[in-house]
């Protein structure tokens, strides 16, 4: 734990006022925390529909799905999973650092989180292009000769849609975290008030958690 050094920057922090609609900063932080949890519940429901769709089609085509999973890029998927798990750790560490007023440490952890997220996205791009090269594309473009059945075709359609939606979420999370990093560096998000960073980190965790479910569905459950 780093002790707070009362310099001019910290003195400025202490006078940060709550937005007009709140009595004080505590109330504001409470509202932000509550709001983000409600929003995360809503996000989960977005993916819940897709998990339901996956379950329905997997029940209809068990063999096709199992075959298709054997063709998944297991190595990339596994590396990506570990990247995201580590990124959740670094994101949580950033929050822990800001709570104790260690601004530089927080910036370091946030930077590491962003790098991990971006590497995930890059690896995902490699993975998509490998599938595309084989002809394993969604819908009418599906031309993967090794697995001609409807089951594998639907598997890949769902694969692109579900991981694609996850990629969009991760990209959004990277942008949000980048913005929060700049707020930390500009001393807008501080030990005195960091509910915004807390919300951003929670969102990052959600994106990670969704991947934890996508990973077995698309790489492991043969």
């Amino acid at each position: 734990m780093t002790a707070i050094e009362p310099g001019p920057a910290e003195a400025r922090e202490l006078v940060r006022a709550a937005d007009i609609q709140f009595q004080d900063l505590d109330k504001q932080a409470q509202a932000v925390r509550f709001g983000i949890w409600v929003f995360l519940a809503s996000e989960l429901l977005l993916f819940a529909g897709l998990f339901a769709l996956y379950t329905a089609y997997r029940t209809e085509y068990p063999a096709g799905f199992a075959e298709a999973i054997r063709h998944a890029e297991l190595a990339i998927g596994t590396i990506n999973t570990s990247l995201l798990i580590v990124s959740s750790f670094t994101a949580a560490s950033a929050l822990r650092a800001i709570r104790s007023g260690a601004r530089r440490a927080a910036l370091g952890w946030l930077g590491a989180t962003l790098v991990l997220g971006i590497v995930f996205l890059a690896l995902k791009g490699v993975e998509y292009s490998r599938h595309a090269a084989e002809g394993a594309l969604p819908g009418v473009y599906y031309a993967f000769r090794e697995l001609p059945g409807h089951g594998a075709q639907l598997f890949f359609t769902l694969y692109y849609f579900m991981t694609g939606l996850h990629v969009l979420h991760l990209a959004a999370a990277v942008l949000v975290l980048a913005w929060l990093t700049s707020r930390v560096s500009r001393r807008k998000t501080t030990a005195a008030y960091h509910a915004d960073l807390e919300a951003g980190v929670l969102y990052w965790h959600l994106v990670d958690c969704i991947w934890i479910f996508l990973y077995p569905l698309f790489y492991l459950l043969t």
Binding site: A31, S42, L46, L50, L53, P138, G151, L158
Partner: protein
């Protein structure tokens, strides 16, 4: 203290405002525009249906017209209207708060709504939509019309709905005035809260299903296409998992308005506060378990049909609890018949009659006869549109003096209310008969023996249209020229009437101190 209307002048002070009241007024204008547009589409349909075969629309244009009517009315008017207008305006005031928890998010909700609405309307302009507002796959994924753009627009509107829901839930939980416990909330707050829960939970599933249709239509993914192994009924499940709760998104806020109007104008507390509050949450919960009743004839096991039918009837119990609580409130009160009360009487007829036909439709043997006929059209227009539209107008007339600090001409408002309610009943009663006689919905032509009923329905629709036009005319007049209103013209005990009229930018001159409940009519004001 200057009111929120005079606080700042100029167009930018409105467009960039974070004041929940100004955002509510902007939503009022936007949703009224949607009502006008959807209403014009409805009139075009009704005129075309005066004769069997073609009057002036081709069959394809007719398909477009009923789709546009449904999409605009459901997604741009009925789902958002009461929460975004009256919820936005009165939720913070009723909680004694200076604003919603997230004012910037609130403004973002407005612009996201407008963006979605523009995309939907652009889709109608360029190619149109001909799938019906339900966008059933696989037709919707192969239709030659602008389905991808249209469904994407509805998806964007859904995002706005989620953001509003998150804002309302966080506000109710964290922004209540000191000493305002959950049992001291006005009932309108309970209904908006229950609605917000449904918005947050159900809207993402609709958003997802429409996104799937949009992507499928744009890039032929075939996710619901049997030719590629897909299952079209899965789309119906996903769609109705949202769209059935969406029915309650439309009706629950209306019920909240009913509770306020009934208590104020019978000068009486609700017969049971608890029954109304809990039945709102009951509807919100059971409403999630009834979606299957839309698919009784789409291939479903007998057990599922029975279970969904039973659960659908179960929601009627919660609705009946409310209806009996309201009538009992009237029974023991000193009733004053005002314009909002006229709309309430209209609501009671439409809601009870529409609700009873709903229970009948939940019975599979009857549903098989009525499925996809005008009977269903009349049923949901009665309960959903009738319920929401009448209470939207009631809310407008009830809160108008607080919102604008002015009064509307009462005589004209009584004429308009009578025209709206009678016109509505007159429009849809013939449609019950048409459906029972076997006329399928969404048909462009029909055998000549149905014509007299269609003519009656169109006659009713024109009375309804005149009533709405009259409303628009005198309300716009009253905003600028109406006589000044007092702070609490109805003698209500609810908290919003404690605020100055019209309220100042942060609602109260000094923090609200709760000394009594919102329905304590035995105490002096």
């Amino acid at each position: 203290m200057t009111s929120y209307l005079d606080d700042n002048r100029g167009i930018m002070s409105w467009l960039a405002t974070r004041d929940h009241k100004r955002i509510a007024i902007m939503f009022l204008i936007a949703t009224a525009g949607a009502l006008l547009l959807g209403g014009v589409f409805a009139l075009v349909l009704r005129i075309e249906l005066l004769v069997p075969g073609k009057l002036f629309l081709s069959a394809m244009d007719y398909n477009r017209m009923f789709t546009h009517h449904g999409v605009v009315m459901v997604f741009l008017f009925m789902v958002p209207v009461i929460p975004t207008v009256f919820g936005n305006f009165f939720l913070p005031i009723m909680l004694g708060a200076p604003d919603l928890a997230f004012p910037r998010l609130n403004l973002a909700s407005f612009y996201v709504y407008v963006t979605g609405a523009i995309i939907v309307i652009a889709a109608m302009w360029f190619g149109g939509l001909d799938t019906g507002w339900t966008f059933y796959a696989p037709y919707s994924t192969t239709s030659p019309t602008a389905v991808a753009t249209g469904t994407f627009g509805v998806f964007v509107v859904g995002v706005s709905s989620i953001l509003t829901g998150v804002n309302f839930i966080a506000t109710v939980h964290t922004m209540r005035a000191r000493d305002m416990g959950w049992t001291k909330l006005p009932l309108f707050v309970w209904s908006i809260y229950a609605t917000a829960i449904i918005q947050v939970i159900a809207t993402p599933v609709l958003g997802l299903s429409l996104l799937l249709v949009a992507v499928d239509h744009a890039w032929a993914l075939g996710i619901f296409d049997p030719a590629m192994g897909g299952d079209p009924v899965l789309f119906q499940h996903l769609f109705w998992f949202y769209s059935h709760p969406a029915v309650y998104i439309m009706i629950l806020p209306a019920m909240g308005v009913v509770s306020e109007v009934v208590c104020t104008f019978s000068h009486n507390p609700p017969a049971s506060y608890r029954a109304i509050a809990i039945s709102s949450l009951g509807i919100a919960f059971v409403g999630f378990l009834t979606w299957g009743h839309h698919m009784f004839v789409a291939g479903m096991s007998t057990f599922d049909v029975g279970a969904f039918g039973f659960l659908s009837m179960f929601t009627a119990i919660f609705s009946a609890i409310k209806v009996f609580t309201w009538t009992s409130t009237l029974r023991h009160g000193a009733v004053r018949v005002t314009t909002p009360m006229l709309y309430f009487f209209g609501f009671m007829f439409l809601f009870v009659f529409g609700g009873m036909t709903g229970v009948a439709l939940a019975t599979s043997s009857l549903d098989i006869h009525w499925h996809d006929t005008y009977f269903v059209v009349a049923h949901f227009h009665f309960i959903m549109v009738g319920g929401t539209l009448t209470m939207y107008l009631a809310a407008l007339h009830y809160w108008f003096p607080k919102m604008f600090g002015r009064m509307y001409p009462r005589r004209w408002s009584i004429v308009a209310a009578t025209a709206v309610v009678l016109g509505f009943i007159f429009t849809f009663t013939p449609q019950f008969l048409l459906g029972n006689a076997g006329m399928p919905r969404r048909y462009w032509s029909y055998p000549p023996e149905y014509q007299w009923l269609h003519i009656l329905s169109t006659a009713g629709a024109s009375i309804l249209a005149m009533g709405l036009a009259l409303n628009l005319a005198y309300l716009v007049w009253a905003v600028f020229r109406g006589p000044r209103a007092e702070r609490n013209p109805w003698g209500s005990r609810s908290y919003e009437w404690l605020a100055p009229t019209p309220p100042p930018p942060h609602n109260f001159d000094e923090p609200l101190v709760i000394r009594r409940g919102p329905y304590d009519y035995h105490l002096p004001e």
